[in-house]
């Protein structure tokens, strides 16, 4: 019993000395400093370091010069075309490349050499990473947008046609999404229509163009 009392006594005194006099203003001040330091560190790491950790960088199998090919063919459609059933062929298969490259031989540049040896020779399709790859739950009709509504590729895909190199593919370690879906800006802020490719971006445009963001099944499967 006496033990209890002494304990409670000590506790009481401790309590009293913390009952707001000069000494613990310092304590408080120190607390404030600690607060600010921690705040800044965490905020910065959350904004600058976090994206580095979140995304893994993957190099494409070899470089591809879009501008050169667009100059040669004149447009995107000659490689990224609609099939006769209205579906979109996405990234052309080896056969498509060889349509032209049967006569114009490969092997001048380092990348062409890789292409020729690793893939054409082995009749192996090139495992490209697709920057605009959407998840399995998404249905997207290129025909509806490009053919019927006459949209251009740039609106969603950006000026990739003028690029001469392929940037590394950044994959979100948690979701497996390409970084281009969320956008380069970690806050998800976009300047151009092609900076983000999330559902809200589709809905935004649909609302503007059709007056309605669309029904679930229009874009989901």
């Amino acid at each position: 019993m006496s033990k209890k009392e002494s304990e409670s006594g000590s506790a009481k005194s401790a309590g009293e000395c913390t009952a707001g006099d000069t000494k613990d203003d310092k304590g408080l001040g120190l607390g404030v400093i600690f607060f600010i330091v921690a705040f800044v560190i965490c905020f910065l790491s959350g904004t600058l370091l976090f994206p580095k950790l979140l995304y893994s960088k993957k190099e494409q199998p070899f470089n591809f010069d879009h501008r050169l090919h667009v100059e040669q063919t004149g447009d995107c459609e000659s490689c990224h075309a609609l099939r006769e059933d209205g579906s979109f062929n996405g990234i052309p298969k080896l056969a498509k490349c060889q349509e032209c490259h049967s006569e114009t031989p490969l092997g001048e540049t380092k990348d062409e050499a890789v292409f020729a040896e690793m893939y054409v020779a082995k009749e192996k399709e090139v495992p490209w990473y697709v920057y605009s790859k959407q998840p399995d739950c998404v249905f997207f009709s290129h025909a509806a947008h490009t053919k019927t509504k006459g949209m251009d590729c740039v609106t969603c895909h950006g000026p990739i046609g003028t690029s001469t190199t392929l940037k590394p593919y950044e994959e979100n370690r948690i979701t497996g999404y390409s970084r281009d879906i969320w956008g380069q800006n970690i806050w998800g802020i976009k300047k151009h229509s092609w900076d983000r490719m999330k559902m809200d971006d589709c809905a935004e445009c649909h609302k503007k163009e059709t007056g309605h963001q669309g029904y679930c099944f229009q874009c989901h499967k």
Partner: protein, 418 residues
């Protein structure tokens, strides 16, 4: 050993004794947590639910705890808005019980959904037509309110209160409490109601569907009313249990009588409304959809008319009458009986409005679906009870929950110190 934390002048059992008690209940909590882990890890196949029983034990538990937790908002409403001042001696406890009930409800919901990590979609992609959306919003808001209402009581802890900041905070919070009480009452009105709406709007389920007012089916109002009616019953019941366990009188009889009386009148008015609703549904609504009431209560192993009788007469009319009549109300035994019946009644009502709906075949060529929960479901449903006991124990031991405790037990204390 923890006496520094115990409210001054209050007499509590020794710490080891307390610790052992907590440990025992804690074991139950661990069991529940284990089951919860299983469910989150392996998925809902750990339950005995199926495509006929999408809603089962958990949703019932949810509705039940929220119903009995209704004591908090209603007592708060009476105390702070209608200035029924006598209730200040029980309001703290009412709030704690409410806090326990609502935190439990949220926990259960988090287990019940198939994709917990997407749970926030209910807010982000909210569908305003869905009663469940209304539930989710009001539920979480009201839980916040309850937390705020609980905080001052926590800050009144002997040690916390020594910090001047906390001391003043607690004091000022008490001052603005009416605002929160009002908000709480408002929110509760809606989520208690929309929980009723959940069943009432299912127009594909003739047993559940009800006509109503604007977008709100009658069940909306019945649920709110019943929560307000039976909630206080539960508050009083738990108080009674706490008194029995601690062997102390904690709340003065006049307070108890007052709340019991109010509860009584609420129950009576509710049960009248409920009877009218049932009659109309049984004679007009259901038949218009091709169903005799007998269809809902026969040809199966469990759901019979006995449910109707038990819920409305035995656990509705009876407690109502006991509590409105002075003589019976002030008889402790009868009052206890009434409170127990009342709590059973409201829980039974929620059971019927969740599980019986699922059990009844609607297609003429379909069959009754009966269900018994898996141990994982039971464990996770017992979990909140255990957790509640612990929280009450802690609160009672370390917080000045019952303002009248000292006064009521003064003599006892005096004799002890001698």
């Amino acid at each position: 050993m923890d006496s520094a934390l115990i409210p001054e002048g209050a007499n509590r059992c020794s710490f080891p004794k307390f610790a052992i008690g907590i440990a025992i209940v804690g074991a139950v909590v661990l069991w529940g947590v284990y089951a919860m882990g299983l469910i989150w890890w392996k998925g809902l196949n750990q339950t005995n639910m199926n495509d006929y029983y999408g809603f089962a034990l958990w949703i019932w538990a949810d509705l039940a705890v929220i119903a009995v937790g209704g004591g908090a908002f209603f007592t708060g409403l009476l105390k702070y808005i209608f200035k029924v001042d006598g209730l200040k001696n029980i309001i703290n406890f009412a709030v704690i019980i409410g806090f326990i009930c609502y935190s439990s409800a949220l926990l259960i919901l988090a287990i019940d959904i198939g994709q917990p990590l997407r749970g926030w979609f209910i807010f982000w992609h909210a569908n305003v037509h869905s009663m469940l959306t209304e539930v989710a919003f009001c539920l979480s808001c009201y839980f916040a309110v309850l937390t705020i209402e609980f905080i001052p009581n926590i800050l009144e802890n002997r040690q916390a209160n020594k910090v001047s900041f906390f001391h003043h905070l607690a004091h000022n919070m008490h001052g603005v409490m009416p605002v929160f009480a009002a908000t709480g009452a408002f929110l509760s009105f809606f989520h208690q109601g929309s929980l009723g709406g959940v069943a009432g709007v299912m127009y594909g389920r003739p047993f559940a569907v009800r006509e109503g007012l604007l977008i709100w089916p009658w069940t909306f109002f019945l649920f709110t009313w019943s929560a307000a009616a039976f909630g206080p019953c539960f508050t009083l019941l738990v108080t009674k249990i706490t008194e029995t366990v601690t062997g102390k009188k904690l709340v003065k009889d006049n307070v108890v009588h007052l709340l019991a009386k109010i509860s009584g009148w609420m129950i009576v008015t509710y049960i009248i409304a409920k009877i009218i609703d049932t009659l109309y549904w049984a004679t007009v609504t259901a038949p218009s959809l091709g169903f005799n009431i007998s269809h809902f209560y026969s040809n199966n192993g469990f759901y019979g008319y006995w449910l109707l009788v038990t819920e409305i007469i035995i656990c509705g009319v009876v407690p109502g009458l006991i509590l409105i009549m002075k003589s019976t109300r002030e008889n402790p035994t009868l009052r206890l009986v009434a409170m127990i019946l009342g709590v059973i009644g409201v829980c039974l009502n929620r059971w019927v409005m969740v599980l019986q709906i699922m059990a009844i075949p609607v297609l003429s060529f379909d069959t009754w679906a009966l269900y018994f929960p898996s141990w994982q479901e039971i464990a996770t449903t017992v979990l909140p009870i255990a957790y509640g006991i612990i929280l009450i124990a802690l609160a009672y031991r370390y917080l000045p929950v019952f303002p009248q405790e000292k006064e009521l037990n003064a003599v006892k204390l005096a004799t002890e110190t001698e």
